[in-house]
């Protein structure tokens, strides 16, 4: 972190190595492609959770509308895939062949103008990154320049999530409505539904996640990272140190939005559809809880938190559907009351001292240890 050295400390490298080992070796070896695909799906939420660590944990800006950005990314990708799946041959029984099926059912006779550019993969990729950033910039600039923060920001972002959901559902001719955009088949001619494709997508997703983590570490280790911590603590002091506080908040909000959108796009690719149920209030709040369970200050914690909550959800909801909601509710409360620092807090208190000791005794460098620490920071 100091001048000249890499911004990655030994601790960070170890944490990255452990996560990489888990994602790229342990999981692919130990579970079948069906479960692995599920893990891949969960990991797409981890992008959102990481964004929330920066935005909420570091910057103190709680957004209850991250689903909006997840959805934007997911819908962009889904639009591209849907157009590819809607070739004139594949849709020749429609009244207007060549447009997505749901448009045909809604009497659209030509592709709406805003769908046109999504025929291009390059544009789609750009849109996934840029659209959420623009949207987040507008919302962020409007709110942070006027110093709307904390609770108000949370509630307004929540309202935005609600508005967007109603809009997507209501405009079903253009968006696929409540069913979403379904039946996505190929990406540039490559069938994404096969098992081999699922493997490739899983590793691509994992790789992106690692890249995002490294990027986040860079941001956090820069002065900007320290500024965020400073901001959360004493906003006025930062302002009276000559910083335009709003710009930093806008930046981190946009950054988190872009991360969410990447997660959304990967979600669409791996799951094969996108629907408004990932945009609304409930998924947005659930994403916050992933982040809280992991420890709102730790980007690695966010990944483990996401995996843990979703794993618990899948397992417990299979066996005790009744108990699951009680469990999830209790988890929310416990995280707030008992473990405000989540898994990362537990790790720091219990495991980190030992790892540190281990690192000091072994000068050979950070080989990935076999055990699976809960979280690292």
């Amino acid at each position: 972190m100091t001048n000249g050295k890499s911004f990655l400390s030994r601790q960070d490298l170890l944490a990255l190595a452990v996560l990489a080992a888990l994602l790229f070796i342990v999981l692919p070896v130990s579970v079948d492609i069906f479960r692995l695909n599920l893990v891949g799906k969960y990991l797409t939420y981890a992008f959102v959770a990481i964004g929330l660590v920066l935005c909420w944990g570091m910057g103190g800006i709680l957004s209850l509308g991250q689903g909006v950005f997840f959805g934007l990314g997911g819908y962009c990708m889904a639009m591209f895939l849907k157009l590819e799946a809607s070739t004139p041959e594949a849709t020749k029984i429609q009244s207007t062949p060549g447009i997505p099926d749901f448009m045909d059912w809604n009497q659209l006779t030509e592709l709406p103008w805003f769908w046109e550019p999504f025929k291009s993969f390059g544009f789609t990729l750009a849109a996934i990154l840029i659209l959420p950033a623009i949207f987040a910039f507008i919302v962020g600039a409007a709110m942070f320049k006027r110093r709307v923060g904390g609770v108000y920001f949370a509630i307004i972002t929540q309202a935005i999530a609600a508005i967007l959901t109603i809009l997507i559902i209501g405009q079903q001719g253009y968006t696929g409505g409540v069913n979403g955009i379904t039946d996505l088949r190929t990406l540039m001619g490559w069938d994404i539904r096969t098992d081999s494709a699922k493997y490739v997508l899983y590793f691509l997703n994992g790789g992106l996640l690692m890249a995002v983590l490294v990027l986040c570490l860079f941001v956090l280790k820069s002065k900007l990272g320290r500024l965020l911590v400073a901001l959360r603590d004493k906003e006025d002091r930062v302002r009276f140190s000559g910083y335009d506080v709003a710009n930093f908040k806008i930046f981190v909000f946009c950054f988190a939005a872009v991360l969410s959108a990447i997660g959304g796009a990967m979600f669409t690719l791996q799951v094969g559809f996108m629907s408004p149920s990932f945009v609304g209030i409930v998924p947005s709040i659930e994403m916050v809880i992933y982040c809280a369970v992991g420890g709102r200050l730790s980007i690695f914690g966010a990944v483990y938190g996401t995996l843990l909550v979703n794993w618990a959800k899948t397992t417990f909801s299979e066996t005790f559907p009744e108990l699951w909601l009680f469990g999830l509710g209790a988890l929310f409360i416990a995280v707030v009351l008992v473990f405000p620092n989540g898994l990362a807090g537990v790790y720091r208190a219990q495991v980190a001292p030992r790892v540190k000791k281990w690192l000091h005794t072994r000068k050979s460098g950070p080989d990935a240890p076999v055990q699976d620490p809960q979280a690292a920071e």
């Binding site: 029984i93 559902i169 209501g170 079903q172 069913n179 979403g180 039946d183 799951v271 559809f273």
Partner: protein, 419 residues
């Protein structure tokens, strides 16, 4: 689902389950004594979870979340049918065992669980889904892994998959006869269309509008409110302003309750001659929440009512109440869900095999004379031929059947001229 998917789905192989085939064959090869029992390896060439004595099927509905309200009845009906089939000796001499999964009102969860049922549990058929969104989410899974889904809900149509048997009515079946009836019997000239804002009400109202306009009558208003909307006073005023002969309402869920209570409170008396309230979204299940006194006088068009007077239905209602208690009510979807296991049994027996592809091929033309709703038959397009009935809501929460179509209505999921 596009046409292309249907075509390719038929020919696709069972990826991912071939491995299991050998095991299943080995397991079952030792126990083939029962007289008249098809050999397991004959009956099942694709590695499904079929032994000499049992066959595994899946039940996939929401037990938790917002949709649990609606899907409970379907789960109950499917379990009842399976129990009855087992009591009769099972399917091809095998007892049905079911694996139940919770879709948790969440569409990816549905897809995930559907995949689990097909890939891990290797079930021979799945009875499940309720909302269109959940069906859309699982459909690619069923086509990719070549599974069989029996889907119970009346829905908007615009879909036809070889891997799905639609045991509920598609929109034209449900709508056209009802509108014809209200035009003929009530002299209706003008309609006000209203619905919750999602695909089923919108598509259904579109079909209704086309039909109404074809008949030379007028639609004086059409409106949609977000799911969960609870304030209908403004639209009720608009209805009062337009004075339609028929209020055609496809409101669902919590909005339903609010809508009918407010309609009644606003002085629109459905027991009077005009306006007639006609709905396709309120079954006996929904009336429980709305309250019979709030909806008494409304007309519903669907294929089944609990009060249907025939022997099949009497036996069904009796068995249902014996299993789930006297208080229980049975709606259209519950009955359709009940048909699922029976239709599957008939198809398996006709094909002499649990093989998905053979069942697909055998399904069209299958008849069920024992259905509570009466005679039904599977159409080429995997929907059911069925009669459509008009029920008149009574204050006790039941419908009185006032009309039924003479002939079976042909299912037409892609209706020409209505799209």
């Amino acid at each position: 689902m596009t046409n292309n998917g249907r075509k390719t789905g038929l020919g696709s192989t069972r990826r991912g389950v071939i491995l299991g085939a050998a095991t299943a064959v080995a397991l079952t090869a030792f126990s083939q004594f029962g007289v008249g029992k098809a050999h397991a390896d004959d009956a099942n060439t694709t590695g499904l979870a079929v032994t000499a004595d049992t066959v595994k099927v899946g039940i996939l509905h929401s037990v938790t979340g917002t949709m649990a309200i609606s899907e409970t009845g379907s789960v109950q009906a499917e379990k009842l049918a399976i129990e009855q089939i087992n009591a009769m000796g099972g399917v091809l001499g095998r007892k049905i065992e079911f694996v139940q999964e919770d879709g948790a009102s969440d569409w990816p969860t549905f897809a995930e669980k559907a995949k689990k049922l097909l890939v891990q549990d290797k079930v021979a058929a799945v009875f499940g889904c309720w909302t269109s969104a959940s069906r859309k989410a699982v459909l690619p899974v069923f086509e990719q892994y070549n599974g069989m889904l029996y889907y119970p809900t009346f829905y908007e149509g615009l879909e036809e998959s070889p891997n799905v048997i639609y045991t509920g009515q598609e929109a034209t079946q449900q709508i056209l006869a009802g509108i014809d009836w209200v035009v003929k019997e009530k002299g209706a000239k003008s309609f006000y269309l209203l619905g919750s804002d999602y695909i089923w009400p919108r598509t259904s109202n579109k079909i209704a509008r086309k039909h109404i306009e074809k008949l030379g009558l007028s639609v004086v208003g059409e409106e949609y409110y977000p799911l969960g909307h609870t304030q209908f006073n403004s639209v009720i005023n608009k209805i009062k302003l337009k004075k339609p002969d028929v209020i055609y309402a496809i409101v669902v869920g919590g909005s339903n309750v609010a809508f009918y209570k407010q309609l009644k409170a606003a002085g629109i008396d459905m027991t009077k001659e005009k306006p007639v309230l006609m709905t396709i979204s309120v079954t006996e299940d929904e009336i429980l929440g709305i309250g019979g006194e709030n909806i008494a006088g409304a007309y519903a068009t669907m294929k089944y009512f609990q009060s249907l007077d025939n022997d099949n239905n009497k036996a069904f209602v009796e068995a249902f109440k014996a299993k789930y208690g006297d208080e229980i009510v049975i709606g259209d979807v519950t009955q359709a869900a009940y048909l699922g296991p029976w239709l599957w049994k008939a198809a398996v027996e006709k094909a002499g095999s649990f093989d998905i592809d053979k069942i697909k091929a055998a399904s069209p033309g299958i008849e069920l004379t024992t259905a509570p709703e009466g005679y039904v038959k599977i159409h080429e397009n995997h929907h059911l031929w069925s009669k459509t009935r008009v029920g008149h809501a009574k204050a006790d929460g039941q419908y009185e059947v006032v009309y039924e179509t003479k002939d079976l209505m042909e299912p037409n999921p892609f209706p020409e001229g209505y799209q």
